[in-house]
C-alpha cells in the first residue's frame, strides 16, 4: 500500500512579481526517489525549497496554494517543525566549519538545544554516518574538523547531518553538481540505500542522473510541472512533447 508523503495542489511561488512556480500539483509517495529536472530557471529548486519552507527566507519570496506533509498543511505548520521533518542537502557541501565531524552530525540536536544523552548521541552519530556510507572513512577522526574532508565526503557528512534528525523526507538541491564523478557515484549509490527509510526528492540538472537514481521523475518547464511519471516511462515514452524535446536535447 503506497502512501503519499508530500502533496501539492495548485501550488504557486513568487520572487516579488516573478511567478516562478505555477499551479503545481504533485503527489509524492513514501520511500521513493523522485528526480526533479528541467532547464535552469524552471522553478524546480524554488519548488524544492518551498517544501521545507526555505523559500520564504529570501526577501520578497511568497507562496500560495496547498502543500501538504501527510495531512498537514506545510504553510500552517511551524517552519522549525517542518524542517525537523524535512531535511535538506545543498548544492555545495556546507558542513559547519567550526564543528568537528561528530558535532556536525549531531548539529541538528546541539544547535536546537535538544538534550540527548551522550550514549544516544554516539549511537545517532554512528548510525547516521553509517547510513551516509561515511563511517568507515571517518570513524578514527570523528573529532577533527569536518572541513578537512574531501568534497564528496563533506557532502556525505551533510547527508548524515540531515539523516540524524530522522526526517520523513530529504530534499537534495543538485547534490552532486559540485562533486567529481567518483564522489558523484558514491552519493548516487547512497540514494538507493536511503530510500529504504526515507523519501528522497532530488533536483538535478543531469538527466542521466535522474534516469539512474529515481523511481519517478518530474519535469518542470517555465514554472509548470509538465509531466510527472515513472522514470522509465518518462525517458522512453514521454507523453508531453516538451518533455520529449528536453530529453532529446532539442532545447536547453
Amino acid at each position: 500500500m503506497e502512501h503519499t508523503v508530500v502533496s501539492a495542489n495548485k501550488f504557486n511561488a513568487w520572487f516579488g512579481d516573478n511567478h516562478v512556480v505555477k499551479d503545481v500539483s504533485i503527489g509524492i509517495d513514501k520511500n521513493q526517489v523522485i528526480a526533479v529536472m528541467g532547464p535552469s530557471g524552471c522553478g524546480k529548486t524554488t519548488f524544492l525549497r518551498c517544501i521545507n519552507r526555505m523559500h520564504e527566507l529570501i526577501p520578497g519570496a511568497t507562496a500560495k496554494g496547498s502543500l501538504k506533509l501527510y495531512d498537514d498543511e506545510v504553510y500552517n505548520m511551524n517552519p522549525i517543525y517542518v524542517r525537523y521533518k524535512i531535511g535538506m542537502v545543498f548544492q555545495r557541501p556546507n558542513p559547519f566549519p567550526n564543528l568537528s565531524i561528530y558535532d556536525n552530525v549531531i548539529a541538528g540536536y546541539k544547535l536546537n538545544g535538544l538534550k540527548v544523552a551522550k550514549a544516544e548521541q554516539d549511537r545517532i552519530v554512528e548510525k547516521s554516518l553509517t547510513s551516509a556510507a561515511l563511517w568507515n572513512e571517518v570513524k578514527d577522526s570523528l573529532h577533527k574538523k569536518g572541513t578537512f574532508l574531501s568534497g564528496g565526503q563533506q557532502q556525505r557528512l551533510c547527508i548524515a547531518r540531515a539523516i540524524a534528525m530522522e526526517p520523513e523526507v530529504i530534499l537534495f538541491d543538485e547534490p552532486t553538481s559540485a562533486l567529481d564523478p567518483i564522489s558523484t557515484s558514491s552519493v548516487e549509490q547512497l540514494f538507493h540505500e536511503l530510500k529504504e527509510n526515507y523519501t528522497l526528492i532530488i533536483v538535478t540538472h543531469n538527466m542521466q542522473q535522474a534516469a539512474r537514481v529515481s523511481d519517478k521523475t518530474a519535469f518542470f518547464y517555465m514554472g509548470e510541472l509538465v509531466e510527472f511519471d515513472d522514470t522509465k516511462k518518462m525517458f522512453t515514452a514521454p507523453s508531453d512533447v516538451r518533455t520529449q524535446n528536453y530529453i532529446t536535447g532539442r532545447f536547453s
Binding site: 567550526n98 536546537n112 551533510c158
Partner: protein, 281 residues
C-alpha cells in the same frame, strides 16, 4: 631580442629595488620612535615604579600605579558597554544590509569613526560631567566606549558578511531558530574576526588622551572610585611630560614604555588568536 629581454629584466629589478627601498624608508621612522621610547623608558620600569603613585616634586622615586589601575578600570568599563552593543549592531548591519535603518546606522558608524576624539570628549563633558558636577571615571569610560563602538561594529559586520550564506541555510534547514543560528553558528564562525576587532579597539582607546582631559580628568592618587576623577596612562604621560621636572619626565617615559608594550602585546596576542581560531571555510 636578447637585449630587450635584458632591459626588461633590469627594469623589473629596479622596480623591485624601489619598492623594497620605500618599504624600508616607511618603517624606519617607526623603528626609530619605538627604539627611542624603549631606550628612555625601559630603565624606569621596576617593581617600585609599577606599585607606587607619583612622588611629589623634589622627592625621588614614585611610580604610575594610579594610572595603571585607572586605565584598567576605565578600559574595562568602556569594553563592557561597547562590546555587546557593538557586536549586536554589527550583527544587525550584516544581517539586514538593505534596510533604511541599517543604511543610516552604517552612515552614523562611519561618521562616528571620523569624529575627532576631542569632540567626543566635549560632548560627554556637557552631557555627563556638567550635570553630575564632577569629573569621573564613568564619564571617561563613556567617552572611550563611544570611540570603541565604530571599530567593533565595523569589524563584526565585515567579518560576518564574509561568511557564506550557505552556512546559515545549513543551520536553518535543520530547523534551528534564527536567534540560535546567529548565536551558535554565525558568531562562532566569525569569532576570530570579531575578537580581533575588539582587541584593536582596545588598543585604540587605551592610548586615547584628548577625551579624558575633561572627563576622567586625572588624579595624582590611587583611586578606584568610578564616580571620582581617575588617572590614566595617556593622561599621566601628558601631565608629566609637560612638567618642567626631570623626575616627572622619567615617569612619563616609563609610562610611555608600558603603554607601548601593552599595545604591542595586545597586537601580537590578536594575531595569535586569529590564527588559532581562524576557521577554514
Amino acid at each position: 631580442m636578447d637585449a630587450r629581454i635584458g632591459i626588461r629584466n633590469t627594469k623589473s629589478i629596479l622596480f623591485k629595488g624601489l619598492i623594497v627601498f620605500l618599504a624600508f624608508v616607511i618603517t624606519l621612522p617607526l623603528i626609530i620612535v619605538l627604539l627611542y621610547i624603549i631606550k628612555q623608558g625601559i630603565f624606569q620600569v621596576n617593581w617600585h615604579f609599577l606599585t607606587n603613585v607619583p612622588a611629589p616634586v623634589g622627592e625621588t622615586g614614585g611610580g604610575i600605579s594610579n594610572a595603571l589601575v585607572g586605565s584598567l578600570i576605565i578600559v574595562l568599563m568602556s569594553s563592557i558597554v561597547a562590546i555587546p552593543v557593538g557586536i549586536l549592531t554589527g550583527i544587525y548591519l550584516s544581517e539586514n544590509p538593505h534596510t533604511k535603518l541599517s543604511y543610516y546606522a552604517g552612515l552614523c558608524v562611519d561618521i562616528l569613526q571620523g569624529v575627532p576624539s576631542i569632540v567626543v570628549g566635549i560632548v560627554v563633558y556637557f552631557w555627563i560631567v556638567k550635570p553630575l558636577g564632577t569629573f569621573s571615571a564613568i564619564s571617561g569610560s563613556i567617552a572611550l566606549s563611544i570611540m570603541m563602538l565604530p571599530i567593533v561594529i565595523r569589524s563584526t559586520e565585515q567579518t560576518l558578511r564574509l561568511l557564506p550564506p550557505s552556512l546559515k541555510e545549513a543551520a536553518l534547514s535543520l530547523g534551528v531558530p534564527y536567534h540560535r543560528v546567529i548565536l551558535k553558528v554565525i558568531v562562532p564562525c566569525g569569532f576570530a574576526g570579531i575578537l580581533s576587532g575588539i582587541m584593536l579597539s582596545i588598543a585604540r582607546i587605551v592610548g586615547e588622551t584628548a577625551p579624558l582631559l575633561f572627563t576622567a580628568f586625572g588624579n595624582p592618587y590611587l583611586s578606584t572610585a568610578i564616580t571620582k576623577p581617575m588617572e590614566t596612562l595617556p593622561h599621566l604621560i601628558y601631565t608629566y611630560a609637560t612638567s618642567p621636572y626631570d623626575d616627572w619626565h622619567n615617569l612619563a617615559w616609563g609610562a610611555s614604555f608600558i603603554l607601548l608594550m601593552f599595545v604591542l602585546i595586545l597586537n601580537i596576542f590578536t594575531k595569535l588568536i586569529t590564527r588559532k581560531w581562524n576557521i577554514q571555510l
